[in-house]
């Protein structure tokens, strides 16, 4: 697989999930587990640019795939605009759901840089956050979209 831009080879038991491989074999602990059955979205990562729930995906299904985790969002030491906005807007309180929200929002903005509020709420509806009430998360995604739009211009 290509994980956060680096080619990696991992040997693992065939029943291992992508989440377990990332956390246990590759020490990428930024991706979290919350529910073990695909309900909470804490384990979301990007597989070939699309958000997937890594707790429901077997590692063997990811052979040759391109995986992006929260650790792969920043460009060297420079944070992704979404990360900057999440930090500034209070979108991360305890921070446990944050990696899942960030990669899901990343996929949304890659596809729809000018996503509407309804689209933002809709695309994030598979991620649970128990701290924020989501509002500051929405604000952060909107702020990041704006910042990215301005950089492009």
């Amino acid at each position: 697989m290509l994980v956060n831009g680096e080619q990696v080879e991992v040997l693992f038991e065939p029943y291992k999930t992508l989440l377990e491989i990332l956390r246990e074999d590759l020490a990428l602990t930024g991706t979290k587990h919350g529910c073990e059955l695909g309900e909470c979205g804490a384990c979301a990562v990007l597989k070939d640019g699309r958000p997937v729930l890594s707790c429901l995906l077997l590692g063997v299904e990811c052979e040759g795939a391109e995986i992006v985790t929260v650790e792969g969002l920043a460009c060297d030491a420079r944070l992704d605009p979404l990360q900057e906005a999440f930090a500034d807007c209070g979108a991360a309180q305890c921070g446990y759901c944050t990696p899942g929200f960030l990669v899901t929002a990343r996929a949304l903005l890659d596809e729809k840089p000018e996503a509407t509020s309804a689209e933002i709420a809709g695309s994030l509806s598979g991620n649970l956050c128990r701290c924020t009430g989501y509002i500051q998360i929405f604000e952060a995604v909107e702020l990041a979209a704006k910042a990215m739009g301005e950089t492009k211009r």
Binding site: Q93, G133, Y134
Partner: protein
């Protein structure tokens, strides 16, 4: 100094924000150590049974297994409250709920540990199971515990402040209502996890996702019979707490013991199902509330009875019980008040402290009942409340001391912003608005165990590099406690909060803070931080004044510089100033500590409820109800919170919105439901929903628009005037929704969650109501008779036997000089 604050009150990025958005915050389950072993617990499948035998022979020889522990390895019980030491790290001879831990397997991998669990043979003798409070009252035998007030009554308390019966008898109207608040759970996204290990010097170290490292430290010392100074507890940042990580837990003690026995790091991470067994969530509470009012709507007395379903263990339950009666009096004037509360043991995961601890349920009842009173008397519910708000700086009937109270401003704000006067009773059928208010503590006035020590301590280290390092036992659970501390120190020393280094929640390195519960950290650790920072500022000021040759009063700290206020060019960097001070006085370290004011309530039970200050909240909620389906939607919420001062408005608003969110879950869908298996399957009492898939909580799509106002009237007892914001804003939402449903379709739902099927049922009911029908008989003890302050009392009960004072009488506040900012 408050005239030109540079950090406090300014919206800014939290100090731990960068780590969190990079996925670099290290939660307990992210920890890994060389040679680490993994622990899994065998949990009871029966809700109540005697353990005839636990045979681990086969498990011991399973592949990868290093150690198997059972109850026999843990002879000492523990529990959060000194009066309820009723938990066993592993059950010795009895299990009291499904999920009770019986044995622990420590193996090379989690898979091997799981496999070995299947090889443990347990012989259960199944006992009668008690499923709720009413059954518990009717079933004194078998007793779930061999302590408690009687049978399966854990605690029954009764307090009376003035002649309530006479006042009710003389009232123009008496309103009597029954309410039921269903239990629900915290559902923090992070499952509890812990790693025990031995330091190279042989001392025990435990990393854990706990809100209360100090109390875990005490529990480990007790249950493992170790000297406290040989134990280190490190609270990892919590992936959400909400009260669910405030107890010491069996898994923490088990991995600590396993690390001591194997000499290797031992880790446990609970599954989501196991987290449901830890619980300590909202108690299911049945309430009878009788309130007497005059024709003009003024309350003359309230008589409240509460019945709590406590589950299988004590936990914080005695405090929870008192909390169901403690704060009814701090919002509206209640001249006479009687409270009787009873907590029962049942064979379910124990209830405990969830956001709003014990005050949420009776607040739900009180605010709905006020709405009923307003409607019956033809008054606007906002006016009914406004006319009887408690006076600032006054004592209540139950001797709670209220300091600042901005409830009036909160009500006026939400009434105005929501257009309440144009909406209430005026919206088209199916749409409605509801209003409710609430109050919460800014820190419990007393610690969990009796002592006269500081509740919070802060130490600062400054050196020639210009770095300020702050040490404090406070625990970051997402609420922003690190940010509060950094912000306060940065304000006083003229620094950028991002430049302050924080060492928190580590019992080896940091002075004791009692933990992140009861909304206490901002006020208590905040005041301690002020004291430590002021002392550091004084040391540095003296050196800088000498070096600059200016009077010390003119030395100013800002923008990481120390300079002459009258000639800002004349100055030096903060690092140079610290260097000068270090050269003048030697190494620089300062301390600060805080202890709350002594309570006016001297009666037994008066230890629950007092606080240095109370926060207040008012909310208006708008709902849309489809009378054909009962479908309920909440499009808008207006909320105003009396916060004293918002130290960081970004975080403060996040706490308000998060409270509204969690409240919506409780109001609309969340419930910790149990069901009995059929008799052929043991008749066991099991969770209906021990998973996130079935325990429904609100998603982005359910979140309404929230209009938040932070009302800032600085509180003298709060740091820079701040009050709490983590818990209070949750409380008014559930009753406001119930009141709005009445405004929309004319039915009363006197219980949560308010689900469409209940609305439909109420629409068809003769009394247009869904709610409890009866309150069972409870053998109440004779109430302690405490005259209210205006009836000549002194805060003591007339009929109470004198108690030995367990708190040093001095009651000196350790940091009075820092609270008048």
């Amino acid at each position: 100094m408050t005239q030109d604050l540079r950090v406090i009150g300014k919206p800014r990025r939290r100090v731990d924000g960068r780590a969190k958005v990079m996925g670099q915050t290290r939660f307990a389950d992210d920890l890994s150590f060389p040679r680490m072993l993994h622990c899994k617990l065998l949990r009871s499948r029966y809700p109540h049974a005697r353990l005839r035998s636990v045979d681990v022979t086969r498990a011991l020889t399973a592949p990868g297994v290093h150690l198997v522990l059972t109850g026999a390895d843990f002879p000492i019980r523990y529990g959060i409250l000194p009066v309820s030491q009723d938990e066993e790290p592993l059950c010795l001879d009895r299990v009291r709920m499904v999920g009770d831990p019986i044995a622990a397997v420590i193996a090379r991998t989690e898979d091997e540990a799981c496999a070995a669990l299947d090889l443990i043979d347990v012989d259960y003798e199944v006992l009668t199971t008690i499923s709720d409070s009413i059954e518990a009252l009717a079933t004194p035998e078998p007793r779930i515990h061999d302590y408690g007030d009687s049978g399966n009554v854990h605690k029954a308390v009764a307090l009376q402040f003035g002649d309530v019966d006479a006042a009710l008898g003389g009232a123009d109207h008496v309103f009597e209502d029954l309410f039921f608040y269903e239990g629900n759970t915290h559902l923090a996204l992070e499952q509890h996890a812990a790693v025990g290990l031995l330091d190279p010097d042989g001392k025990l170290c435990l990393y854990s996702s706990t809100q209360t490292p100090h109390y875990v430290h005490r529990a480990l010392a007790r249950s493992l019979d170790l000297a406290p100074h040989r134990i280190r507890v490190i609270a990892t940042p919590n992936g959400g707490g909400f009260g669910g990580k405030s107890d010491p837990f069996n898994h923490e003690i088990v991995v600590a013991k396993a690390a001591m026995l194997t000499g290797r790091p031992v880790k446990i991470c609970l599954t989501r199902e196991e987290v449901f067994y830890c619980h300590r969530g909202r108690h299911p509470v049945l309430m009878r509330m009788k309130t007497g009012v005059r024709n003009d709507g003024m309350i003359v007395a309230m008589d409240l009875e509460t019945l709590l379903d406590g589950g299988a263990y004590g936990s914080y339950g005695v405090a929870s019980t008192f909390y169901t009666g403690a704060l009814q009096t701090v919002t509206y004037k209640i001249p006479r008040y009687r409270f009787r509360g009873c907590r029962t043991f049942t064979n379910k995961p124990p209830g405990g402290p969830k956001r709003g601890h014990g005050t949420v349920q009776p607040r739900f009842g009180q605010e709905i009942q006020l709405d009923k009173i307003a409607v019956a008397l033809g008054k606007d519910p906002a006016d009914l409340r406004l006319q009887q708000i408690v006076e600032p700086h006054s004592l209540t009937a139950n001797w709670m001391r209220v300091e600042t109270i901005a409830l009036r401003a909160c009500i006026e704000k939400v009434v105005e912003r929501s257009g309440w006067r144009e909406k209430w009773q005026k919206l088209p059928a199916g749409r409605g608005v509801g209003l409710a208010c609430s109050s919460y503590l800014c820190g419990a006035g007393l610690p969990i165990y009796w002592n006269d020590l500081p509740h919070s301590g802060v130490q600062l280290k400054l050196d020639r590099s210009g770095l300020v390092t702050l040490f404090c036992g406070a625990t970051e659970i997402g609420q922003g406690s690190d940010d509060v501390l950094a912000g306060i120190v940065a304000e006083i020393l003229g620094l950028d909060p991002q430049d302050v280094r924080l060492i928190t929640g580590d019992t080896d390195l940091t002075p004791v803070d009692l933990g992140s519960y009861s909304s206490r950290v901002t006020l208590m650790a905040g005041n301690a931080a002020i004291q430590a920072a002021e002392r550091a500022r004084m040391i540095v000021s003296e050196a800088a004044a000498a070096k600059l040759g200016v009077p010390i009063e003119r030395v100013t700290f800002a923008a990481s510089r120390v300079f002459d206020a009258e000639d800002p060019e004349k100055g030096m960097t903060f690092a140079e100033a610290v260097s000068a001070a270090e050269s003048a006085v030697g190494s620089i370290g300062t301390t600060g500590s805080y202890r709350p004011p002594v309570s006016a309530a001297k009666y037994k039970g008066g230890g629950v409820g007092p606080s240095p200050s109370y926060s207040y909240t008012a909310a208006v909620v708008e709902v849309e109800v489809d009378p054909a389906t009962g479908w309920l939607e909440v499009p808008k919420v207006w909320i105003a919170h009396d916060i004293g001062r918002a130290l960081n408005p970004v975080l403060a608003r996040g706490q308000v919105e998060g409270g509204v969110y969690m409240a919506l879950g409780e109001a609309l869908m969340e419930e910790q439901l149990m069901r009995r298996l059929p008799p052929r399957l043991s008749h066991a009492l099991v969770h209906k929903f021990p998973s996130m898939l079935e325990y429904k909580s609100p998603t982005t799509l359910e979140m309404p628009e929230v209009f938040t106002d932070l009302i800032e009237y600085p509180e003298a007892n709060g740091p820079f005037g701040a009050k709490e914001v983590g818990q209070g804003p949750l409380l008014p939402i559930m009753p406001a929704i119930a009141n709005a449903v009445f405004d929309a379709v004319g039915v009363r739902i006197d219980e949560v969650p308010i689900m469409p099927e209940k609305i439909l049922r109420a629409l068809k009911a003769k009394d247009l109501r869904v709610g409890p029908a009866a309150f069972p008989h409870v053998d109440w003890p004779e109430p302690l008779d405490v005259p209210p302050p205006w009836e000549g009392g002194d805060g003591r009960a007339r009929n109470e036997k004198p108690r030995k004072s367990r708190v040093a009488p001095s009651g000196v506040r350790l940091a009075p000089e820092v609270t008048s900012k």
